[in-house]
Symmetry: C2
Subunit: 249 residues, 2 copies
């Protein structure tokens, strides 16, 4: 990119990228939301996605740890509270605890989930790539990589309704993670969008912001590729990864 | 593991893990070696595997950079020479240059290959996970993770013969990488095996060595999973990745 975009043009390009690249377009999500997944596939999704949830506060603390501006650090700390919970927070705990309610509800052993020993290697590498990106790239790129949340309220609403209506073992209680997330995600995404519109002031910085969103779309997409490959088609589960019980497969 | 193994028992466990987990068992390799890949699939394999080749010296220099023993550093430096070449080395260059002869011979644009912009994200994350492992784990684990070469001379010989006999666009010249590798890999693998047998002196260290080999088997396997998913079955190429020409697909 050689031309400087206005903040509104940059926002339009970012939204356009989300419309083309966000993982709601991945075939696995369409299967999941439309009720076409077996219980074993839903379990595999929840177990693998747990690692992403568990690493989000590590990622966010890595960003805070490299940030010299106390205003940004304070703002970003809300994310730690959302995921890790707090004494004064909601009694159902933070996002990780609520994700474990989902894996509990799906009949997965909680210690096995937390140990991540049944994870797909592809999930692990994609999530770690995200953490390393946030640690190693510029602060602008690290912040921009969180912008996929701009597109998450919609996918979460689709998921909540789709999964509650299609799977009889999914209850409102086990889906509590998804009830809480949309307002948090919206608040966070607006902060990030405002930040990059204000701080990407050269064509190079604007390109870096677009590339950061592209990178993050790739991470989420690759996680679903790994799931789809192992549990849908061709269904090649790598050695050591979660194997659904015969009745759930 | 709670029991201390003899060095010979440790070696037997490592060899047994290779026999069960090395990526020669992956369906993609069977397709590749038996002549069942389309030219586009062979191109995708060579283009993605290029990134692994290109990162090997980065990985090896990372190991040297954290190693206080000049004997190990000197030994490990041979790997840099093998991959990056040297003025006094063979005129056909180091391993990376020879890999590019393969991608040239397959009709891939050399600058596109080197830029890695057409790489599968799953390949990128797996290779980066390997580099980070070598940087962040103990020196013993970093060294042990190179042990997959113990199993590579056999796969390379199978590949050389299989690919030369099955694909008319593969020539002895383009396969020069594979002619050179077996003796190098054998020398390196024997060094690593001797090292871990000597330095893994507690059950915990022996377990760490086994886990390092398991990790590395997962990395190689995940790279082929990503290829198989994108280019074989179900053939879902992620946005932005290499797309074979219609006549080669």
């Amino acid at each position: 990119m050689t031309e400087l975009l206005t903040p509104a043009e940059l926002e339009a390009r970012l939204r356009e990228m989300g419309a083309r690249r966000y993982h709601n377009l991945h075939p696995f999500h369409r299967l999941l939301h439309s009720g076409k997944c077996s219980k074993g596939q839903v379990q595999a999704w929840a177990l693998n996605r747990y690692y992403y949830q568990a690493m989000v506060p590590i990622k966010d603390a890595s960003l805070i740890a490299r940030c010299e501006d106390p205003d940004i650090r304070r703002e970003w700390r809300k994310r730690l509270e959302d995921h890790d919970g707090s004494d004064t927070g909601p009694p159902e705990g933070g996002g990780i605890e609520r994700w474990l309610k989902l894996t509990d509800g799906l009949g997965l052993d909680r210690q096995a989930v937390i140990s991540t020993r049944l994870l797909l290697p592809g999930t692990r590498y994609a999530v770690e790539a995200y953490v390393h990106f946030v640690r190693e790239r510029s602060l602008l790129e690290a912040i921009a990589s969180a912008m996929t949340e701009l597109f998450s309220p919609q996918i979460i609403t689709e998921r909540l309704e789709g999964m509650l209506s299609h799977y009889d073992y999914i209850t409102d209680e086990t889906m509590s993670y998804f009830r809480k997330r949309p307002p948090q995600a919206e608040r966070d995404a607006n902060y990030v969008l405002d930040y990059v519109k204000k701080h990407a002031r050269t064509p190079e910085q604007q390109q870096a912001v677009l590339d950061a969103l592209s990178f993050k779309c790739d991470v989420l997409w690759a996680m679903l590729d790994a799931l789809h490959h192992a549990y849908v088609s061709p269904g090649l589960i790598p050695p050591g990864a979660f194997v659904p019980a015969p009745g759930d497969a």
